[in-house]
Amino acid sequence: MGELGKVHQLLIPLGGHTLTFNLEAILMTWIVILVLTAFGYFATRGRSILPGPMQALGELFVNQLFGLADDALDKELARKYAPMICALFMFLVLSNWLGIIPHLEEPTKDLNTPLGLGLMGFFIAHYAGIRAKGIKAYVREYFEPMFFMMPLNLIGELAKVVSISFRLFGNIMGGSIIILVVSYLTYSVLLPPALNAFFGLFVGTIQAFVFTMLTVVYISVQVK
C-alpha cells in the first residue's frame, strides 16, 4: 500500500529546466506498440481468402471500426481518418487490458497518455474543420449564434478535451486502485480475479470504445 502514488521518473536537467520521463508509462507503451506491430505483421502476412485466426481478428477490427467511421463521417473523410480511428481503438484496448498481466500496468494509468491522445484528437478535429470549412467560416462559428457566446464556445471546446481525457484516466486509475485496495483488504483471496475481470477487461473495453467514438464524433461535428 505504500507503493500507492509512487511513480518512477527519470529526470534529465536540460538548460535550466528538467526533462521528466515517467518510466513505467513509457515502458508499457513500448510493449503495447511492439505487440500491435507484431500483430499487424502476422495478420497481413500471406493474405488468403480463407483467413487464419490472426487475419480473421484483424478483419474483425477493421470491419467494425471502418463501419463506425463511415456512419459518422462522409465518404472521403471516412477513408482518410478510419485507419487512425482503428489504430486508436486497438491501442486503447490493448493498453487497458495490459493490467491483467502481473507486473505489467496500463500506460493509460498515467494522466499523460489519455491527455496526449485527447489533445491529438482535438487538434485533428480542428484541423479537419479548418480544411473543410476554410478559416473564416471556422472562426465565425465561434461567434454563433450571438456575439458574446464566443467565450462560452471556446470553453466548451476545451471542456471536451478535459472530459474525454479525464474520463479514460479516472476509470483506469480508479479501477487499478480499487483492485489494489480490495486485494490488500481481503488478503488477495477470492475477490480480486472477479474485480480484475470487471474493471480491467469490461470497463477497459467500454472506455476505449467511448474514447474512440467521441473522437470520431468530435471530428464529424467540426466538419459539418
Binding site: 456512419d71 466548451g156 471536451k160 478535459v162 472530459s163 467511448v210 467514438m213 464524433v217 464529424s220
Partner: protein
C-alpha cells in the same frame, strides 16, 4: 481551533472532504445509469431483434454518465493521499471546499447524461434504421451535458493546487468555501437541464430521422444557453478565489463571502432546470414540425432569457456581497 496544530485540522478537512466528494459524486451517476438501464430494458421488450445494438448503446451511455463520478473519485483520491503543506488554516477550508465542489458538481451531470442514453435506446427500438445517427446524437448530447461537471472539476483542481497560504485566514476561509459551493451547486441545474435537451433530441431523431440536422443544432444551442448559469457559478468561484481580501476580525465579512457563494450556487439550480425544460420542449416540437424551426428557436431563446432572470439576480446579489458590502 486552538490546541490542535494545523496539520491535524488539515487531515480532518482532507478526510471529510474526500468522503463528501465521493459520497455526493456517486449519487447522480448511479441514478442516471439506472434510468438508462430501465429505458434500455423497455426498448428491448418492444423490439427484441435490436437487443444487441440497444445493449451496446446502453453500455456506452452508462459509461459517459459515469464520467462525473470518476472525476469525483479522482478528487477524493487526491484529497486522501496527498501530503498538504501545513502552513496556514486557509488550507483546511480549501480542502473541504475542493471536495464539496466536485462532489456536488457531479450530481447534475450524472443524472442528466442518463436521459439521452435512455432516449437513444428507446429510439433504436422504434426506428432501427436510425441507429447510427442516434448513437452519434446521444454521444454529442451527453458529452456537452458533462461541461458543468468539468467546471466543478476545474474549480476543485484550482483550489487544490494554488497556494493560498499567503492570504489572511479570515475572510479567505469563507471565500474559498463559497467558491467551492458556487461551482459545485451551480453545476446541478445545468447538468440536469442539458440532459433533458439531449433526451428530447434523441427522441426527435428517432421519430423523424430526416430532421436530424436542425434538431442537433437547436439541441447544441439550447444546451449552451442552459449552461450559462453554471458559467455564472464558475465566475463567482473565480472571483472569490482570486480576489485579495483585506484581513478582518469580525464575523460579518466572511459570512458575506460565504453567502455570496451559496447565493450563486443555489440560485443557479432553478434556471438551469427551467431552461432545460424550455429547450427540451423546443427540440421535441422541431422534430415534429420542422418548418416552424425559426419561430420555435426564437421563442426558446426569449423564454430562456426570461427564465434566466432569477439567475441573474443571484449573480448580482453575489457580486454585491463580494464587492460592496
Amino acid at each position: 481551533m486552538m490546541e490542535f496544530d494545523v496539520q491535524t485540522w488539515i487531515k480532518v478537512a482532507a478526510f471529510s472532504g474526500g468522503g463528501l466528494a465521493m459520497g455526493f459524486g456517486a449519487i447522480g451517476a448511479a441514478i442516471g445509469e439506472g434510468y438508462t438501464a430501465a429505458e434500455a430494458n423497455s426498448a428491448i421488450s418492444r423490439n427484441p431483434e435490436m437487443a444487441g445494438d440497444i445493449f451496446k448503446a446502453m453500455l456506452v451511455g452508462q459509461a459517459i454518465a459515469e464520467s462525473a463520478s470518476i472525476f469525483a473519485l479522482v478528487v477524493a483520491m487526491i484529497l486522501l493521499f496527498t501530503n498538504f503543506a501545513a502552513e496556514s488554516f486557509v488550507t483546511v477550508s480549501v480542502l473541504l471546499a475542493s471536495g464539496l465542489s466536485m462532489g456536488l458538481g457531479a450530481i447534475g451531470s450524472g443524472v442528466g447524461s442518463g436521459f439521452p442514453a435512455g432516449a437513444a435506446c428507446q429510439g433504436m427500438a422504434r426506428q432501427p434504421a436510425a441507429s447510427g445517427r442516434l448513437t452519434t446524437n446521444m454521444l454529442i448530447g451527453s458529452a456537452v451535458c458533462q461541461t458543468p461537471a468539468i467546471f466543478a472539476l476545474v474549480t476543485s483542481f484550482i483550489l487544490l493546487f494554488t497556494n493560498f497560504s499567503g492570504r489572511p485566514v479570515s475572510p479567505t476561509w469563507a471565500a474559498v468555501l463559497g467558491a467551492g459551493l458556487a461551482a459545485g451547486l451551480g453545476a446541478i441545474g445545468s447538468g440536469l437541464g442539458g440532459g433533458l435537451v439531449a433526451q428530447a433530441s434523441c427522441e426527435g431523431v428517432a421519430r423523424q430521422p430526416l430532421t436530424a440536422t436542425p434538431v442537433t443544432n437547436v439541441m447544441l444551442l439550447g444546451q449552451a444557453v442552459t449552461q450559462t448559469t453554471a458559467i455564472y457559478g464558475l465566475l463567482v468561484a473565480f472571483v472569490l478565489m482570486f480576489k485579495n481580501f483585506v484581513p478582518t476580525d469580525s464575523i460579518a465579512p466572511p459570512m458575506a463571502l460565504l453567502g455570496a457563494g451559496l447565493c450563486m450556487g443555489i440560485g443557479a439550480i432553478g434556471p438551469g432546470i427551467g431552461e432545460g425544460f424550455t429547450a427540451q420542449s423546443t427540440v421535441r416540437w422541431i422534430a415534429r414540425n420542422v418548418e416552424a424551426t425559426a419561430d420555435l428557436t426564437r421563442v426558446m431563446l426569449v423564454g430562456q432569457a426570461v427564465a434566466e432572470s432569477t439567475g441573474i439576480y443571484s449573480l448580482v446579489i453575489a457580486l454585491v456581497l463580494i464587492f460592496v458590502v
